[in-house]
Each structure stands twice: as structure tokens, then as C-alpha cells.
């Protein structure tokens, strides 16, 4: 412990060197902007800055990338909350709750919560990285595709909590998403599936087109269609300038702790990353919440859990890179490229041969997450002023940005067509009460599940029992089964309690579920 603290002290000394500090700041700004701009993902921005790091030393280069990484993971939540456009798939659960809070006039509250939850999740994750990296990495190294498949199934099982009013609708949406994820060239055999001879479908349906279409375009069409009848399309009320919700965070400490823990744990699984973390944390939070029925309507607990989880995963993903030389996510894979460009092989020897560099990286991550609070507020304030723009202008430019976001994927108008068609589908799904989030989950997690499942089957001679005989996999699948069964159990319990309450001789007819007044998920009233 003393050695770690001493090394960390040295790391902070290095991180506060003017050039290194500047790189962290610059990286955060680039990352947040990349997260906000449609079509420019956090991963794209890390790839784009890689050539600029050739002439730098390894430490400033990595600090720049770490800044982009931490800022980028958070940045997409700003547009998710303000415009229902998740910057990255990991920001999708943030949009589910944050945008609803915004529509209730709680944009400032939602933005503040997202910033604080991201910063705290990232900070705790960075501290865990500094203190527990080596033992955690040894544990995670025992995982195979069997465990990864089970973790992804756990993520998919959270569809049970995303169903809202219609479980069958959620399942339809999920399977449709999983099917969409199979379109394109299959990775093991190179067989084209459901491309119907259309060339651009060979590379599959990019989930960004689905995200942008279903959420942003679908929302605008819904607003245009319902505004005249006075049922929706109400512009967000209240000020959208974020405020520091330090006191508001205390009642939300449960979601914050659980989200951060899920983020670190799931992020620590190589390949799982921030997207799986945020989905799993959101699903878990709804299951343990006393007011699950309020999820999807602007629940602060769901927002905090998802945001703390996706930033919490950053430290977990770095563990593999630094201690094993295995990138834990796509972003850390690019960082590994930066190491190799500078002639350094990440791995266990890095800790003995270049401890100064390793602990400077740890210190840099801690600093980046602290600085993100200030920069996040500045960025959110800048973008929040957009909320004052009249709806016709805002909606028009959202469509234009969606066009650009889709086109920027592959410089192909086909992606724009797909986005717009998914926009129409998003509107239809809203009209038919088919929940959209499960489809997004299916298209993102479905291909992962397929890859892990088929690889597991090849490795274990099609023996399905391997998923329940390996302990970690069995536990993950057990949790998934519990997640799927829980709504049914809750319904039966509620029915029984209602029967008991309605029985003659009993007074007090309150329902089995409390109204949730003053509960953790309640946003405070908008300050006008």
C-alpha cells in the first residue's frame, strides 16, 4: 500500500507537469466535443488523434488519449439528455431517463447528475485501477467466451425491465434488434446473410444509424404528428443550465455505488466495455428499485446508475491493457497502438520496468475525472443554451445533424437512407407502443452474444452444459434468469397483497407499492 501511494505521488508530480496537464485538458475537451458531435464517436476521436501522438513522448501521448477517453464516454450524455440523441451506444440508457427528465423541465438537474455520476464513477474506477489492478487482472484472465456470453445474456435479460407496459412488445423489439444485428457478412464463414444482393448491407446495419433514426428522427416525427392535437411536442420547460447536485446525490448514493461497481466489474471483463456496463447497471437498478414502474419516465436513479457505470468501466478496461497487455475495449486497443508505436509493450513487466509511466497514467485518469466536473459543466452550459432555440429551428437542425452523423459513418448515402427509414420505424413503434430500447439492445448486444456463443460451442464440442458448469457463467446466467422472472414474481406478490388489502375487516386500502414520495428516484422541483 505504501509503495502504491509513493508511486502514485510520483505519478501526480508528473501529471502536473505543464505539458502533461495541458494534454489531459486538451484530451477532455476533444473527447467531450466528439461525444457531442453526431457521428463522431469517442473511438473515432481516439483514432483520429493517434497520428498526432507520434511526435510526443509516451506519457503526454497517453494522457491525451486518456483525456479523450474519459471525456468521450461522458460527452454523449449531453446530447442524450438535451436532444434524445445518444452520442454513443453507452449513452442510450442515459437518454431513456435523462431526456424524460428534460421534458419534465429537469434538464439542469439531469445534466448535473450525469456530470457528477460520470466523474465519481470514473474517479472511483481510476482509484481501483491504481490499487487493485494486478489481482483483478489475474481473476479476469480466467474468463473465456463462455463467461462473456453469459454476461451479455445478463445484459439482454434486462429487456424484462425495459418492457414498461408491454412485455410482449419488448420481446418483439428485442428479437427484431437481434435479427437486424445478423444482417451482413457472417464473421466465421464469410456467408452473406439477408443482404438481398444490396452491396452496402454486406457490412451490416451500423447500430449508429439505428440509434439516430429510432431516437432522434422518430422523436421529431412524433412531435410533428402530435403537436397539433396538443398531446405532445411541448418544448422542454425550465432552465437547462446544469447545477451542482451535491446534496441531491446523497439520496441517490445507492444507484451511484451500484452503477460504479457494475461499471468497474463489467469494464474489467476484456471486451465487455462501457456499453454493456451501462445497460447492465440500468437493468440492475430497475430490478432493485422500489419504483420500477417509473423507469423510462425520467428516473434519476436509472440515469445515475447508467452514467456512473459507463465511466466506471474506463478504469476496468485499462486494467487489462496495463497489467496483461490485452486491450479491454476498442478504445484501449487504440491506446495499445500508442504504446507499441513508442516501442513499449504493455503488460506485467511494465510495472517493474516503467513504474513512473504507469503511475502517471493512473494519476492522469484520476485528474481527468476531477477536471471533467468543471469542463463537463462548461460544455453542458454551452449546449444547454440550445434549449432556448425555438422548436422549428431546433428540430430542423437535429434532422440535418442526423443526416451528417449517418453520412459520416462511411461517407455513404445508403447509411443516411437507413437512418431516415429507421426514423419512420421509430415513429411507428411509438404509435404501436412497442418499446424502442430493447431493439437497440438487441442490435448492439446480439452480435456479441452470437460470436461468444458460437466460439464457445466450437471450443466445447457443442456442449451446452458448459454454461452452467463454469461458476462465473452459472452465476451470471442465474442472475439473468432471476432478472427475467422478477417482473412475474413482483406481479404475483402485488396481486396477493391487493387481495389481502381488499379482504373484509381490513382497513386502509393503499396499494402494495408505495407512491414513492421523496424516494431516491424523485427529481426535485425545477427551480425557475
Amino acid at each position: 500500500m505504501a509503495e502504491v501511494l509513493a508511486n502514485l505521488g510520483g505519478g501526480f508530480d508528473n501529471a502536473f507537469q505543464p505539458l502533461n496537464f495541458l494534454m489531459i485538458l486538451l484530451g477532455l475537451v476533444i473527447g467531450i466535443l466528439a461525444g457531442v458531435l453526431p457521428g463522431i464517436t469517442m473511438l473515432n476521436s481516439i483514432v483520429l488523434i493517434l497520428p498526432f501522438t507520434y511526435l510526443m513522448g509516451i506519457v503526454p501521448a497517453l494522457l491525451l488519449m486518456i483525456g479523450v477517453y474519459c471525456g468521450g464516454v461522458f460527452g454523449g450524455s449531453i446530447t442524450a439528455i438535451l436532444f434524445n440523441i445518444p452520442g454513443d451506444p453507452m449513452n442510450v440508457p442515459t437518454a431513456w431517463e435523462g431526456y424524460r427528465l428534460n421534458r419534465k423541465g429537469q434538464a439542469q438537474y439531469a445534466l448535473g447528475l450525469a456530470i457528477m455520476a460520470s466523474a465519481i464513477g470514473g474517479l472511483v474506477s481510476a482509484l481501483c485501477l491504481a490499487f487493485f489492478a494486478p489481482p483483478f487482472a489475474r481473476f479476469a484472465l480466467t474468463f473465456s467466451t463462455v463467461e462473456f456470453f453469459s454476461v451479455v445474456v445478463f445484459g439482454l435479460a434486462s429487456v424484462s425491465v425495459l418492457g414498461q407496459a408491454s412485455m410482449s412488445g419488448a420481446v418483439i423489439s428485442l428479437f427484431a434488434g437481434i435479427f437486424l444485428g445478423t444482417i451482413g457478412t457472417e464473421s466465421q464463414y464469410g456467408v452473406e446473410r439477408f443482404t438481398f444482393g444490396v452491396p452496402f448491407l454486406r457490412t451490416g446495419v451500423d447500430f449508429v444509424t439505428v440509434l439516430i433514426g429510432l431516437f432522434a428522427i422518430g422523436e421529431i416525427l412524433e412531435q410533428l404528428a402530435s403537436r397539433a392535437s396538443g398531446t405532445a411536442g411541448v418544448p422542454p420547460a425550465g432552465r437547462a443550465v446544469p447545477r451542482l447536485p451535491l446534496l441531491d446525490l446523497w439520496p441517490l448514493r445507492g444507484p451511484l455505488i451500484r452503477g460504479t461497481a457494475v461499471g468497474i466489474a463489467v469494464g474489467g471483463l476484456a471486451g465487455a466495455g462501457a456499453t454493456v456496463s451501462s445497460f447492465v447497471a440500468y437493468g440492475l437498478e430497475k430490478q432493485v428499485s422500489r419504483e420500477p414502474q417509473r423507469f423510462g419516465t425520467g428516473h434519476a436513479g436509472g440515469l445515475v446508475a447508467a452514467e456512473s457505470a459507463n465511466n466506471g468501466s474506463t478504469g476496468g478496461a485499462m486494467i487489462h491493457l496495463l497489467t496483461l497487455g490485452i486491450p479491454g475495449s476498442a478504445a484501449t486497443a487504440v491506446m495499445m497502438g500508442a504504446f507499441l508505436i513508442h516501442g513499449i509493450q504493455p503488460g506485467p513487466l511494465l510495472f517493474t520496468r516503467q513504474p513512473e509511466q504507469v503511475y502517471t497514467i493512473f494519476a492522469g485518469m484520476i485528474l481527468a475525472n476531477v477536471l471533467m466536473i468543471a469542463l463537463g459543466f462548461l460544455a453542458a452550459m454551452s449546449f444547454a443554451t440550445l434549449m432556448k432555440v425555438p422548436a422549428p429551428i431546433l428540430n430542423t437542425f437535429i434532422v440535418v445533424f442526423c443526416f451528417l452523423g449517418a453520412y459520416a459513418l462511411r461517407n455513404d448515402m445508403a447509411d443516411v437512407w437507413l437512418t431516415m427509414l429507421f426514423g419512420v420505424l421509430g415513429y411507428v413503434m411509438r404509435r404501436y407502443d412497442l418499446p424502442i430500447p430493447p431493439m437497440v439492445m438487441g442490435i448492439i448486444l446480439g452480435p456479441m452474444a452470437e460470436q461468444y456463443f458460437l466460439t464457445s460451442m466450437v471450443s466445447h464440442q457443442n456442449d451446452l452444459t458448459v454454461f452452467v458448469t463454469r461458476p462465473v457463467s452459472a452465476v451470471a446466467l442465474g442472475f439473468a434468469a432471476a432478472l427475467l422472472a422478477w417482473p412475474g414474481v413482483r406481479q404475483v406478490r402485488g396481486r396477493r397483497q391487493r387481495v389481502v388489502a381488499a379482504a373484509p375487516g381490513l382497513t386502509g386500502s393503499e396499494g402494495p407499492i408505495s407512491s414513492g414520495e421523496g424516494s431516491a428516484g424523485d427529481p426535485p422541483r425545477a427551480s425557475s
Binding site: 392535437s229 434532422v399 453520412y407 431516415m420
Partner: protein
């Protein structure tokens, strides 16, 4: 919307998934030995989709008339509110979709700047924008701003259009100092 109407979409989903399921037969021709082929996973997804759609269709058709209003959460008991004019929103929606499709269709032909400026004016007008100066300013400033950011900063090769429109777009870029 009646029960038949609400059952239409899941029924379409059911029929589509059955049709696609039948189309997966040839996918496993390349599978090695006893390994699962590339058709396994799509079949699993389509079977799940077909079953879920069938359940939804049955649920919609079996729903009692009294419960039909519960399909949408905003339906509340009590005196019926005055029927809103449905033609207006439907027309607005149709025009919005047509404008978006026209925008995507026109961009490769007439170039991004012209298509975007035209779309901004038309879509803002549809959304309720009335001031001609506001519409014109938004179209011009918005398009020029986007061109600077996405061409000069992000280096995104936006469509220039075909034939005379390409020359026009290039001339515009030169005039703006982008090229």
C-alpha cells in the same frame, strides 16, 4: 385504433419472420461437420420474433372491448374529450416524411449545400416558422456554418451534386474559402 388495427403490425412481423426463417435454409451449407452454421443465430432470433409476434397478435385480438382504451397509457376514463382534428397532424407527418426523403434523394443530385438550405427552409416552415427573414437567415447561416465545420474541420467529403450542380457547389466552396 381497433384491435384489428393494433394486431396488424405484429401480424406483419409474424409473417415476415416466417418468410425470412424459410430463407435461412441455404445458410448452413458451408457449416463444418457438427458445428453450428451461420444460419443458427438468425433462426433463433426469427423464431423468437415469430413467437413473440404471435403472442402479441393473440393478446390484441383477445383484448376485451372495455380494455382497448388501456392500450395507450394516456387513455383515461371519464367524459370523452372533443375529438382532435386528426387530418392536420397526419398531413403534417406525411409532409415531414416526404421532405426528409426528398432531402436524402436530392442531396447526391444537387449537392449538399443547396439541398440543405432548401430543406432548412421547408422543414422550418412546416414546423411553424413564419418569418421569411428568419427562414432565410437560418438556411444561409446554418448551411455555411455546417460546411465550415464538416468540410474544413472534420474533412467530411459531402456530396457535391451532379453535372452543373457540382460546378456550382465547387464555386460556392471556393467563394467561401473552403477549397
Amino acid at each position: 385504433m381497433g384491435a384489428a388495427g393494433r394486431a396488424a403490425l405484429p401480424l406483419l412481423g409474424f409473417l415476415t419472420s416466417i418468410g425470412l426463417f424459410a430463407g435461412t435454409r441455404g445458410l448452413d451449407d458451408m457449416a463444418r461437420g457438427d458445428q453450428l452454421g451461420p444460419g443458427f443465430w438468425p433462426r433463433l432470433a426469427l423464431a423468437g420474433l415469430a413467437v413473440a409476434c404471435a403472442v402479441k397478435v393473440i393478446a390484441e385480438l383477445r383484448r376485451r372491448p372495455g380494455n382497448r382504451g388501456a392500450a395507450r397509457p394516456e387513455a383515461t376514463p371519464g367524459p370523452a374529450p372533443p375529438e382532435p382534428d386528426q387530418a392536420g397532424p397526419a398531413r403534417r407527418l406525411a409532409v415531414a416524411i416526404a421532405l426528409i426523403m426528398l432531402y436524402v434523394l436530392a442531396t447526391p443530385a444537387i449537392g449538399y449545400p443547396l439541398a440543405t438550405a432548401g430543406f432548412i427552409v421547408a422543414f422550418m416552415r412546416l414546423g411553424g416558422g413564419r418569418s421569411p427573414w428568419g427562414l432565410a437567415a437560418s438556411a444561409v447561416l446554418g448551411t455555411v456554418g455546417l460546411l465550415y465545420v464538416f468540410l474544413k474541420v472534420v474533412y467530411l467529403p459531402l456530396p457535391k451534386g451532379a453535372g452543373p450542380f457540382e460546378a456550382m457547389t465547387v464555386a460556392l466552396y471556393r467563394a467561401l474559402g473552403i477549397f
